[in-house]
């Protein structure tokens, strides 16, 4: 019996799939619908994946960020030079031949036009200390050279130089009353730093009338485990009034809003579009079943069970889902993967550049969704086919 029903299932299913061409138009409609949904879903998920990648890449566990107590980001923070000296003296900070691996930093934004629209965007300009490059593990200059301390020279992140106009080696920019020269382009494995422009912190203090104050301090800890003792020591020091994050927590917090926003909107769109695609698939499968009413009834009269009929209809629907899903995966992969974009990160009131990332997980999510849509679209029509009374079916024209 078991062997018999397997034969039945494969017989009907293969017959069914061979005559899909009879219903080509409506099958293609359902297929295009599902492919469209999968493309949009993967697109949205790859934006979220891209953001997450930038922000998690940026955050090391053994790097700590020190802000003024009450500040939520670098922009609103402030530290005096004596305070940065006290912090740099901490025993939990890693040291090398040049002293403590710590960088007191300034963070301001400057208007640089977006290449795409030629309208100004808030690009972060970061003033960094001598040791800053050692705090970003993958930092390297890919073009030109690094800035000379004490001069009005800047280096631009690769992301920033791709998105904003005039950030290429040798170009001159006027911010305020100062002319700045871009002398190099740097990379840091796609982290947030690549959205920024860097210069010497002491030069920036002068140019922005900041005296000798800084905004934040970034330090390399002796080990990730040293964070707690570093934090305890600093927060209990009466000379300081500070708030500390590991770099990872800091970026996690900054990205929360953006990722939540993209996911909320993306999921809503994907669910609604999926609903539309299910209706298209249902329509296709119902008409597939209804044009074959007599055929199905004949099969049943010949002794085929209802289970093979259900399976054959479902298989057709799943095939449509599979093909639609694969097409969607291909389109989205070739359109979106690696696409560079920039948007406003409200947490820091400045631009962040990122690349869409179509990861294998994202692709699998898209495919699963496509199959689920095909399954739902095939289930009800297949049940109807199986329940149809044989006599009525045979009588139908």
């Amino acid at each position: 019996m078991a062997g018999n029903s397997v034969t039945q299932v494969s017989a009907i299913t293969s017959m069914n799939l061979r005559n899909v061409s009879q219903r080509a138009t409506s099958s293609v409609v359902a297929l295009v619908g599902i492919a469209g949904v999968v493309t949009v879903l993967i697109g949205v998920l790859s934006i979220a994946a891209g953001f997450r990648a930038v922000l998690t890449l940026s955050g090391a566990q053994d790097v700590a960020i020190v802000l003024r107590s009450g500040a939520t980001d670098e922009m609103g923070s402030g530290l005096s030079q004596p305070q940065t000296r006290i912090i740099a003296d901490s025993k939990d900070i890693a040291r090398d031949a040049d002293g403590a691996i710590a960088s007191p930093e300034l963070y301001v934004v400057v208007d640089v036009p977006l290449k795409r629209t030629a309208t100004p965007a808030n690009v972060p300009l970061r003033g960094v200390g001598q040791q800053a490059q050692k705090l970003r593990q993958n930092f390297r200059i890919v073009e030109g050279r690094t800035f000379t301390p004490g001069t009005f020279e800047v280096i631009a992140g690769r992301g920033a130089s791709l998105q904003f106009a005039g950030l290429s080696v040798g170009s001159k920019l006027r911010w305020g009353t100062t002319d700045w020269t871009v002398v190099g382009i740097f990379e840091d494995r796609g982290s947030v730093a690549e959205s920024e422009v860097w210069t010497d912190a002491t030069v920036l203090q002068g140019a922005y009338n900041r005296g000798n104050s800084y905004q934040s301090m970034r330090v390399k800890l002796t080990s990730p485990g040293a964070f707690q003792s570093f934090k305890d020591a600093l927060t209990s020091d009466p000379r300081l009034n500070v708030r500390l994050f590991t770099e990872r927590d800091y970026y996690e917090q900054q990205s929360r809003t953006l990722i939540a926003l993209v996911s909320t909107i993306g999921t809503t769109i994907a669910v609604l579009m999926g609903l539309g695609a299910v209706f298209a698939a249902l329509n296709t499968m119902y008409s597939a079943v209804s044009t074959r009413t007599r055929e199905i009834a004949t099969l049943r009269a010949l002794g085929f069970g209802s289970a093979p009929v259900v399976v054959s209809v479902l298989a057709e629907a799943l095939l449509i889902g599979l093909i639609g899903g694969v097409i969607g995966m291909a389109i989205s992969y070739f359109t979106f993967n690696g696409l560079r974009a920039s948007t406003m990160n409200f947490a820091s009131f400045s631009q962040i550049t990122f690349a869409f990332q179509v990861t294998p997980q994202v692709l699998m999510q898209g495919l699963t969704y496509a199959l689920a849509l095909g399954f739902i679209g095939g289930l009800l029509p297949s049940l109807r086919a199986a329940r149809l009374p044989i006599t009525t079916g045979l009588r139908e024209l």
């Binding site: 469209g36 003024r68 980001d73 009034n241």
Partner: protein, 385 residues
């Protein structure tokens, strides 16, 4: 024309399931269309809501750079400037870091002259003007946190600290709840003096200046005059219309508008296929019937018109229900997204573009079946039975 309505209606009822499914896909398409337009407007701002006679003066380098307080007086002195009001970004946080609010310190006496579309009862306005620690809050934010007039709110700043004790908490008394015609009901406005007198740094500066001009046709001239006045000083300015300012800010969000349009187009293309397919199917099934109608004397034009009418009817029904649902759900969307940015509800222009889409979608879907029905010869149709 209308005498055929019962016939159209009866045809729709012929295969209820199929009509239902087609209708459902159209409803979803229009629901998505409505929601995405709502989102697009919310994300890219609505430059059309900007005051036509308002200009914004900011530091040339970036808006976060402060301007000397004296600039306010000098801008007021420029010929053609009706009134000018200073603004300072406060970086407000309420209760926890997640509740970041647009709190802005303004020059209170000129605020309502610059923003004349904001309404506040006169007694609340008087209370705000008299008390230095008083603030007015937007109706949406008051509702979100359940604030009432007279409450004192411990507002924290992520930028400014008090110079005497280093604290970042600035208690503010809710003196009034305003309603803004341009939809800005999420902000909190308080006294520039309150902030300026006690902040540890930045005393004697303002963030940016918003001004109104007497004659909006002279906006470009006035903007040039203002920027010219501060050219070659240590603090140069950039003046633009409020509309350009909002537009520039929206551009910073990235190509979200384009992205949303692309998604909407993809959805519509799919729906077009679905409707066209079902229409084609139901016409093919009725070829013999159309043959009978033609035998009875129905002209080719009438028969074609009936097919077209059927497509338009389904599409229009779907659009009405879909946009209705979108208008309802955009309220829910506004609540879900309130923590990120204000959503003002579905823009009315959606109905107009929706109507255009109904005609386009219906006509395109009916095109092929119409041609088929028009060309159909009576003999061929009747032979099919």
């Amino acid at each position: 024309m209308f005498k055929h309505l019962p016939l159209l209606w009866a045809n729709l009822g012929r295969k209820k399931l199929r009509t239902g499914l087609t209708l459902a896909s159209i409803i979803v398409a229009f629901l998505l269309f409505g929601l995405m337009q709502t989102l697009r407007v919310a994300l890219t701002g609505s430059p059309e809501l900007a005051g036509v006679d308002r200009l914004v003066t900011i530091h040339k380098v970036a808006i976060i750079q402060p301007l000397p307080e004296s600039y306010l007086t000098r801008i007021r002195g420029v010929e053609g400037v009706k009134v000018a009001c200073s603004h300072d970004w406060f970086g407000g946080i309420y209760q926890n870091d997640r509740n970041q609010l647009p709190v802005i310190a303004v020059d209170v006496p000129t605020f309502f002259q610059v923003y004349n579309e904001y309404s506040l009862p006169p007694e609340q306005k008087a209370a705000w003007e008299q008390d230095r620690t008083a603030a007015i809050v937007g109706s949406a934010v008051a509702e979100r946190f359940g604030w009432k007039i007279g409450d004192t709110v411990p507002m924290r700043s992520n930028i400014w600290t008090h110079k005497n004790d280093g604290s970042s908490v600035w208690p503010m008394k809710v003196a009034g709840i305003y309603n803004a015609g341009n939809g800005d009901n999420q902000s909190i406005y308080f006294h520039h003096e309150y902030l300026n007198e006690s902040r540890a740094v930045g005393e004697g500066t303002v963030g940016w200046v918003v001004l109104r001009v007497n004659d909006r046709n002279r906006s470009a001239d006035i903007a040039r005059t203002i920027d010219g006045m501060f050219a070659n000083s240590s603090t140069e300015t950039k003046t633009a219309t409020e509309k350009a300012f909002i537009q520039g800010f929206a551009n910073q969000m990235g190509n979200i508008g384009a992205l949303i349009t692309a998604v909407a187009a993809a959805v519509f293309f799919t729906m077009l296929l679905v409707t066209a397919n079902t229409m084609g199917q139901s016409i093919r099934e009725r070829f013999s019937e159309i043959g009978v109608m033609k035998t009875l004397g129905y002209s080719n034009a009438t028969v074609t018109g009936l097919v077209l009418g059927e497509a338009l009817l389904v599409t229009a029904l779907g659009a009405i229900i879909g946009l209705g649902l979108a208008a309802l759900t955009s309220v829910g969307l506004a609540q879900a997204l309130a923590q990120f940015f204000p959503v003002l509800g579905m823009p009315p222009s959606v109905y107009a573009s929706g109507a255009v889409l109904v005609v386009v979608l219906g006509t395109l879907a009916a095109a092929q079946p119409c041609v088929q029905a028009n060309r159909l010869k009576i003999v061929d149709a009747l032979r099919k039975v």
